[in-house]
Amino acid sequence: MNALLKLTNPRPHKTKAPTGILGLDEITGGGLPRGRTTLIEGGAGAGKTVLGLEFLVNGARRFHEPGIFVAFEERADRLIANAAQFGWNLPELQRKSLFFLDAQPTPDLIKSGKFDFGGMLAGLGAKVRQMRAKRIVFDAVDIVLALLGTQSDVEWEIFKLHDWLMANELTAIITSKFDRTEFSPAPSQSLGFMQFMVDCSIVLSHLVGQGISRRNLRVIKYRGSSFEENEVPFIIGNLGFEIAAASAWHPSQSAVSNDRVSTGVARLNSMLDGGYFRGAVVLITGSPGTSKTTLAGAFAEAACRRGERTMFVSFDSDSREVIRNLASVNINLDHLVKKGTLRMISVLGTVGNAETHLVRIQKFARDHRTRCLVIDPISSLVQFGSDESSKGLSARLINWAKKEGVTLLSTSLLERASPELEGTPIQISTLADTWIHLSYLVRAGERNRGLSIVKSRGTSHSNQVRELILSGAGVTLTDVYTASGEVLMGTLRREKEQAERAAEIEREAKADRDQNAAEAEEAELVMQIAHLERELKAKRADGLQTKASRSSRRSENRQRQAEMKELRKSDAEISKRK
């Protein structure tokens, strides 16, 4: 019954002490082994002390586990002063839940014969009981081990120390330096002995390649627990230790969304059949000046208008400049920043490495509870890293965004005009859900911006190139003219439009003219008909007259002939009678 309960309701914190360092708890599946010892080794300046100190600070602050810091190397007051930058407020914690023990060997110490940790362990034992301490850090144990001399003495003291830690049920971190530049299977003997004895072993490395600093953490062993075996990058930031969480460790928790979010440009929404998918990764590529930032700004503004908390990270320019520039195309971010919905972050110069920036972005995004994230441009982010690491970096960024359900819009600079030729140097294009490419079309002494959707997973999107028009009124897209296989934009498009309009007017006018002419002809014909009719009438009238006169003439003639006959009767009649 009990066993069953344990199985169905596992309590990870029973065996693990959370460090409170976000990424570290993720890769170790909950923290360091509780009541056991963890060895942290690394070169000088690798971050061992900070990690140990933060483990104690978080224990005291968040998990009600008081802790003791045994400083073999750096003096406690200096440690406390150094840690002030992390905002941990150590003096406050020191009152009851955090104790520093200065254990630096004094330089004037004279050695004679063998010695051991007896005094320290006795003193610490009393302190542990008094404070009810649960955590302890021995920082730079190598310093004091070096004093011990022979290897067998060292091992014996390590053994006793370990034994004491176990007996006191302390979750312990022992840090130790090593001289190796690369992790190799040849640690010093005492370190090897410690590695064998402890339950968990972590290596910190700080490498510089091509002038770029890279910090990595790797868990070498963890008894009784699975763990992330790969190196994970980390930084020591403003708030202490920050580890790039290995997101593949956790199963995907965020549901895939069918929700659409506006692109901020109405026409683009319709091109994408409604907008970007919520939680999607959007990539906008293009040469310098193709208004990648403007599209990103439009997206950010739309997101804020919906009330979604948004973060805009710009790598190329100062965020105030971005705000000013976007205001010129009616994208007003200023009041959104003031309202707190939008957070603008600008990263200038090539300070730090890509991992540092990634971890910071994630941290800021979490703090801001970001739903929509803009990285402008991601090509600047990854340029800090070496090639193989930058690929992993963008993948990590994307995985992280997906896991958090953050809609991520990144812009990326392309050196060449065609996206198909290049892809993006950072391989984000294969990982992106939606890829919009912006380009210039130069014709007739003019540069115009063209927008096309290279891909958009899961949406029926337009295959048309559209012209992107920026004006004081905002961002709009418009159809382009295709003429003899070429698209027309800008003035050429307007000329074409005007030419078409003129032709139309001309056609109208011609039709009018034609109609008028026809009407005129008709009227003329009608007039002609009337005239002819009149003529006809006249003719007819003439005819009658002629007829009448002819008949009257005939009768006149007959009369005359009769008269003539009368006159000539005698002659004819005589002759006839004769």
């Binding site: 110490l109 004279i110 004679s112 014969g113 010695f115 007896g118 005094g119 006795a122």
Partner: protein, 107 residues
């Protein structure tokens, strides 16, 4: 304080009393050895002009911590000044004598 010895009977001499404090960790081998070695050194070089206080850190752990005693056994020469700390079982007498200011004056 487990054991306290006081052998300052010869106050008539002008030689100052050497005040010593030895921190030990119970009956740990190094500590037991240190007591034996210190006793022998004092008998040989500081007869009747020394004062030894022995502090067992297991019995007085807070005192050990307050005094900054982390490694044991630890011999502290409190006076005459300067204060000197000698770590270990005191098996090599030369550095001990030197630290106690006895290396030149040794007969």
């Amino acid at each position: 304080m487990r054991k306290s010895q006081s052998e300052n009977r010869r106050t008539s001499t002008k030689v100052p009393i050497v005040r010593l404090r030895l921190y030990i960790a119970g009956d740990a081998p190094n500590s037991v050895r240190a007591i034996a070695n210190l006793t022998a050194i004092c008998r040989e070089h500081l007869l009747d002009r020394h004062n030894i206080e022995i502090v067992d850190v297991f019995r007085e752990p807070t005192r050990a911590l307050a005094d900054g005693i982390l490694l044991t056994p630890m011999l502290v020469k409190l006076s005459p000044l300067p204060v000197r700390r000698i770590l270990g079982s005191l098996s090599q007498s030369q550095p001990v004598l030197h630290a106690l200011g006895l290396s030149e004056s040794s007969e």
